[in-house]
């Protein structure tokens, strides 16, 4: 089987799962009463007063499959409902709040992957030495820390205590300039890139300062997983016959580790990258809430009704659907990369 054929086959196999994700979210909507389901489509107070009309228009009292056809039709047109907490249709709110989240992810993912792989190898090569014990203990600690508590502690130490790295996305001066002065051109929505394009370096610096603590939080929680997998696959790889061969050829330890062991050990680590995506989606929900960053995660958390308010159902369901699709697609990409790197998968 060639790579192209493998890719096509995987994509076809993913479609039923995607459909399943959509069906599950639809099943969740069926747990609500028709009146609650009507809130998916209510955008104004006028409609609020005449809920029965909305129910009739979208056939919310009809049998399940009729409802599904209507709901799925709306979904295909990009109508995920109206979000009260986001003040707009779910899809456009999602797109509007995405850049803040993307910025956070762009900073934490490379650190998690590179540092995790490096520490995993280091730990495996020095197995059962003090370095190994320290790295593993630190990673277990990172795994056991509640994300939100770590965030709160970091705020207490670095912001309230030392006055160094503030929470939120921008300082008040930068916020004024970006949102209120009218001089700002949002090219990409990412403050780091837009700051350069607008020629306002001080905004880049400000945004970077605000990213330090959330990035540390996300990295601490995520790194344990990669580190652990990398360590054990490196240990396995170091025990293989080809390593003994390489050593007996008289290669240096460095060459054996970098050229022979590491390459093969990296392959299993790739599978974890899919899990990393799930962790990130969860991570940003908590991290953005703690640091008060206006991204999709905090929006979903607010929508779920923190503080005893009525939940914003369309927002939560829209976010869940989005998270499910992102996760499925991420796993598909990992599968394809896996086949690309390891011919045994696509040929076997």
């Amino acid at each position: 089987m060639g790579l192209a054929e493998f890719v096509v086959r995987r994509i076809i196999l993913v479609l039923p799962t995607l459909m399943g994700v959509v069906l599950l979210i639809f099943a969740v909507t069926q747990l609500f009463t028709p009146e609650q389901r009507a809130t998916l489509y209510i955008t104004s107070e006028k409609q609020m007063r005449d809920i029965d009309a909305v129910i009739a228009q979208y056939r919310l009292r009809d049998p399940v499959f009729v409802q599904f056809v209507g709901w799925f039709g709306q979904l295909l047109q990009g109508n995920l409902g109206y979000s009260r907490t986001g003040n707009g249709p779910v899809l456009s709110v999602l797109l509007r709040k995405m850049p803040a989240t993307v910025e956070l992810v762009l900073f934490s993912v490379p650190i998690v992957i590179l540092l995790g792989i490096y520490l995993g190898i280091y730990s495996a090569v020095n197995r059962d030495k003090p370095v190994d014990h320290v790295t593993r203990t630190v990673s277990i600690i990172g795994y056991s820390l509640p994300t939100f508590w770590l965030g709160i502690m970091l705020i207490a130490i670095f912001f309230s205590g030392l006055g160094l790295f503030p929470p939120e996305r921008l300082g008040s001066q930068a916020f004024q300039y970006v949102y209120l002065s009218g001089k700002w051109n949002p090219y990409s929505g990412l403050m780091i890139i837009d700051g350069f394009l607008n020629g306002q370096l001080w905004i880049v610096v400000d945004a970077l300062k605000h990213l330090v603590l959330p990035t540390i939080t996300l990295v601490t929680i995520q790194i344990a997983l990669i580190l652990r997998v990398m360590r054990s696959s490196m240990l396995e790889s170091l025990g293989k016959g080809y390593i003994t061969t390489a050593k007996s050829k008289g290669l240096t330890d460095k060459e054996v580790i970098n050229k022979h062991a590491r390459r093969n050990a990296l392959i299993p680590t790739m599978t974890v990258a899919g899990l990393l995506t799930a962790g990130l989606l969860t991570g940003v929900t908590i991290t953005e809430t703690v640091f008060n960053i206006d991204g999709i995660g905090r929006w979903a958390a607010t929508a779920a009704g923190g503080g005893g308010t009525v939940p914003d159902v369309p927002a939560v369901l829209g976010f869940s659907l989005f998270a499910g699709i992102v996760y499925v697609v991420a796993n598909l990409v990992v599968d394809i990369l896996y086949a690309y790197v390891d011919p045994r998968i696509r040929l076997g």
């Binding site: 599950l24 509640p146 205590g161 009704g305």
Partner: protein, 374 residues
Amino acid sequence: MLDEFKFTLKRMRKSPLSIVGIVIVSFFVVIAILAPVLAPPVDPRDPYAIFHDGYGPTPRPPGSPILDSFILSTGWKVHYFGTAEGQLDIYYGCIWGARTAFRIGVLVVAISLVAGLVLGSISGYFGGVIDEILMRFTDIILAFPGLILAMALVIALPRLWPIEFGVIGIVAASFIVPMVIGFFYPKLRGKRAVILGFAIVVAFAIPYVYVLGSPPIYTIALDLNSLDKVLIALALVGWPGYTRVIRGEILRIKQEDYVEAARAIGASDIRIIVRHILPNAIYPVVIMASLDIGSTVLLAAALSFLGIGSPLGYSDWGQMISYARNWVWTGFENPWQFWYTFIIPGVFIFIFVLGWNLLGDAFRDILDPTLRRK
């Protein structure tokens, strides 16, 4: 299995980290059991509600005297760990929070484990269409990040659950009737009894539902508080993982000679699964469960932190930290002025989860076939 157990114990004695794990977990077991002694409830009808000494917003430091005369009359003198927002006693919440943590962790994992055992066995042993359907279903649930699906489920689950005794009767009958048939007519045991029993149940159930309707007298409403919803949501998110692991184990063991031998002497499917396959399949799953208790408690704490977990004022560590958040933000002059509101409950969660993770990690190292017995 006994050999495995002895081997595990032997290895655990050599690993200092796993001993730390055992000590931590036992420590919390003791706290949870002794909660009524360590922190006698002020309102015995509702021991999980943290008592509050007035309603003042500003937290008070550890050692502050209790002012409320009613609470004083129950024997409490000081707030050992201080008070949180709304004068909720932190010490009381932390002690009873241990019970909440065990309840969430153990119950959610137990429900997922049992569901996984039943569905995984069926899926792995019988294969075919059932297997295909179940596996696609687990695929769908596993396609969501756990916290996010749990969040959606918590807000979607209705608070009141009408329990239809008729429906319960039908479900119970579909288990009992085949058993009775099998008992009296041994020739019909196994698949045939199940099919026959199911047919009988359906024959009675259809007239019940469509002709008699559901008389309201048979219905009671189960009132779920928000913590129960969290339990249900987390169990719904948790079972697919177990189902898949058990299915995999069963597929592996099904090929073994002793299973063939059991089949050859005419043992029934259920007997083969329960007596021959599960004892050999269950070990890795138990390890998975011990690791999962920690992460389940973390997930529940995160839901509480987002404000959709336990009800207000409930003894729950995650919720106690979420109160404390405001007091970190506002403490500009002295951020550590209210340290007790967020550090104490945070340390409780952290140590609890750490204990389970150390235990699970030690187990995993012991059981990892590539690293063991060297």
